[in-house]
Amino acid sequence: MFRRTTRNLFALANALTLLLAAGIIHAASPSPQSPSTDECLACHSDKTLTTKRGSRTVSLFVDGKRFSSSVHGSLSCTACHADLEGKDLPHSTPLARVECGTCHSDEQKQHSHSLHGRAIARGDTLAPHCVDCHGNHDIVPVTDRNSAVAPLKVPFVCGRCHQEGTPVQTNRQIDQHNILENYSESIHGEALLKKGLIVAANCVSCHTAHNILPHTDPNSSINRRNIAATCTKCHAEIEEVHRKTIRGELWEKEAHVLPACVDCHQPHKVRNVYYAQGMADADCMRCHANEHLKASDGRSMFVSAAEIAASRHAHPRTQAVPVSCSQCHSEVNVSRVRPCETITHPVDCSKCHEDQGQQYQRSKHGQLLAAKDPNAPSCRDCHGTHRVLDKRDPESRTFATRVPELCGSCHREGQKAAVRYVGTQHEIIRHYQESIHGKGLLKSGLTVTATCTNCHTAHMVLPKSDPQSTVNPKNVPATCGACHHGIEEQFEQSVHSRLVTKTDKDLPVCNDCHSAHTIRRTDETGFMLDIMDKCGRCHQEIAKTYFDTYHGKVSRLGYTKTAKCYDCHGAHDILPVADPRSHLSRANVVATCQKCHASATRRFAGYLTHATHHDPKKYPFLFWTFWGMTTLLVSTFVLGGMHTLLWLPRAFQMRRDLKAEEAREETARANGAGAEGKATAEEDHRAH
């Protein structure tokens, strides 16, 4: 059974192969003569020639004259009606639909992807084919004003379907209404239709001719992202005139955060009227001026007009008019009764404050926000919302003197930022307030004093470990140098600078000696004494030997009127002793000593400020002096001590004897012994 089936299949395959071969041979052979244009017109020039399509009677008349003057006049009928190729006349009906795409492949492709093309594919009978717009046998170039799609005619071509009462408008989902009507009354429509300005925008200027897509499609020319590009095809650099706050490139690059043209200039209704600034604000305030307005989750949606009027946005630096609601709440759609119902994203300040926005996104705060951390501060946590003020305004939360408090609201001990912090800096705010910067800012009211943001930056706050951070050791000198420039210049030439010393080891930067948040005046006793321990953290041996000398001992007792590390080595301009610029170089050392020892000489400068008697190699004379003295000391004590210890038992014996004698005398006296007896006892004692 199985074998028979196989044999049958084989026979079938053979038969098919033969048939195919026959077909190829047939195709290769010269085809029968295709009907010529004249032959076609022999019948189709008859104006009464009709046919029935469904219930409709359709004329089959072709105007030979107009055809021959059309763009396709040089082509034969069968070039388009390809299914008549090689057919004998009269041909059978109906003919297949002409495929314009055979030649106009790009347009065809666009069309088939377009709203119209997809409707056709869906089998929507209302969907337009090429012929519905362009006509058939009488197509002329679009520049010809007789063209069915000449600019002046386009509104009506489109309007055939897209106007009130048409099946398309009635039965299909079209958001816009009175399209043709509105257009004809719009500034574009007036220009085109009344003034005959054929460069004025018509339907296809915005919607394109073949690539018509719904506005929700990101590729659509009328998508929010593209609308600016579409409008600026004609209204070049409109943004320059329009909103000076908005960078031209933003409009196209970040259209999603900006109000699109059509948000104000509604499609099809664009009027030649003055769109007053704040008009939208008034619209918003219609609802939001209500103090009791609440969101569904209970948040107050009240917006205080007074707050906004007092804010920085009411008189921005970069534009002549106040910033309007919709400039921040950009997704509003004025075509809605509630323009705000289309808002889906929170306010994005970076659409105007682009640099700050980018910095913020790079910052730890921004990273946390991106990670959806509930503790992450966003713009408004520091700057507020409607009452945003300039940082130079003393009322502002970001005014210099209020910055520590502002940062402290999270970074104070026990607050949310401090709680998650695992580094070594604690009591940041309290320490800062007690530091020289904190006192300068808060007690002396010097607003130029460094506050949190001067070192950490306002928007690009990064942890110390991040190489981009302003408080990363690599960047600290520059950060401090922003104010202490002269010191930075000195420091960058010193042996501690990364620019001078190339090493893998950690080199000290400003905060290693001065600390970060507890920076003190350098003429404070505490600082001056601490600094030696700071040097000693790296220079352990040399610091230890310093404490063996008079200078070190006095310092250790807590007094500063003696040479400390930086008195000799310099503070920021420390250089190796071998460097001729060093304070301790041969040329400079005497002058350095003379800072304190006014009449110091070169030989005096030979005093070993780091000498130790523990190093026999480096300081043999000190070492041997010390051990000589120690030997003397120990031997003296041993001899003296032994002498004393040996004496002790005898001394006790003597004490006992004396006591006994005294007691004897007492007894003798108590017994009323006379002077004689006493004298005798005394004599006895003497005789001993």
């Binding site: 001992k553 006095v554 005093y607 003295m629």
Partner: protein
């Protein structure tokens, strides 16, 4: 047979003779004068000077102890401490010079020649007798002989005496180097300041340590003298004590008949009390310093 001198001692006096002091029954009428007023004054100055030098100096030597910082602050800071140290040093030099001057006077007045002073029986210089007494003392210590008969100056007293000479020479010279480093480095290398520091500091440690332990014990804390021997302060010592501790001197004095000239009324009670108070303070400071040194050397050494 009682000598005329013996009759002066209260113990030998007739019981019907009224005792001059009621409650202080043992208080003798007359006492042996061991030290002159000047010697006592010099010793007192020496104590003041030595304690000041030790206290202020050790704050630097043991600057790593909290005690040092406290003492230094109490004194008014390292500069005041330095001032005290130098003032006390001047006083010490003064004591030294005065003593030398006194020696010259002594030679003129009593000995006529240096030879007599230096080689006489009361010499401060070590003599063969000192060596013999030292060996005899060692025997006595180990129970192989009687207590030697000491003279006016025992060998340990002579040692103490010359220790001061040595100390003044060593500590004084290095101290001056540290005081005037710029002057001294005009002819000495700068590193000599470092050496001077080591010597000054260690010799001072030796001096303080020795005085506050060995010297204190030998003269004050010996059980038979405990708690202190006030002779150096009052200048007086009971005759019985002279007989017991310095029998050779006593016998020599008796033999030469000069003993009477060394007997004096005891110091007034108030003077003795004041002296005791002073001595107690000095002793306490000395002991505190010893404790401090031990603590600093053994427990806080860095």
């Amino acid at each position: 047979m009682p000598t005329d001198l013996d009759l002066q001692s209260p113990e030998l006096r007739s019981p019907d003779q009224p005792r001059p002091l009621g409650p202080e029954r043992k208080r003798p009428d007359r006492e042996f004068v061991r030290f002159t007023r000047l010697q006592r004054a010099l010793h007192a100055c020496m104590i003041i000077s030595f304690l000041s030098l030790a206290t202020t100096g050790l704050t630097l030597k043991f600057s790593y102890t909290g005690w040092a910082a406290m003492v230094s602050r109490f004194l008014g800071g390292f500069q005041v401490a330095g001032f005290i140290h130098r003032t006390a040093a001047i006083l010490m030099f003064g004591v030294f010079v005065t003593h030398l001057y006194n020696l010259v006077q002594l030679k003129k007045r009593e000995y006529k020649s240096w030879r007599a002073l230096v080689l006489g029986p009361d010499t401060m210089l070590p003599t063969p007798q000192d060596l013999r007494q030292f060996l005899a003392t060692m025997k006595w210590f180990i129970g192989m002989g009687p207590r030697p008969q000491y003279g006016r100056w025992t060998y340990w007293e002579k040692f103490d005496y010359f220790a001061v000479f040595w100390g003044i020479a060593v500590i004084g010279s290095t101290g001056l180097t540290l005081w005037f480093p710029i002057f001294f480095t005009r002819f000495l290398p700068g590193s000599f300041i470092n050496i001077a520091t080591v010597i000054h500091s260690d010799e001072a440690l030796l001096a303080t340590g020795f005085i506050f332990t060995v010297h204190f014990f030998n003269t004050h804390l010996r059980p038979e003298k405990f708690p202190m021997d006030t002779t150096i302060f009052t200048g007086h010592m009971p005759l019985a004590e002279l007989k017991r501790d310095k029998p050779l001197e006593y016998e020599a004095l008796v033999a030469s008949g000069r003993l009477e000239s060394y007997m004096e009324e005891p110091q007034p009670e108030i003077v003795v009390r004041t002296i005791r108070a002073f001595a107690w303070i000095a002793l306490s400071i000395g002991f505190s310093i010893v404790v401090w040194i031990i603590y600093a050397m053994l427990f806080a050494y860095k």
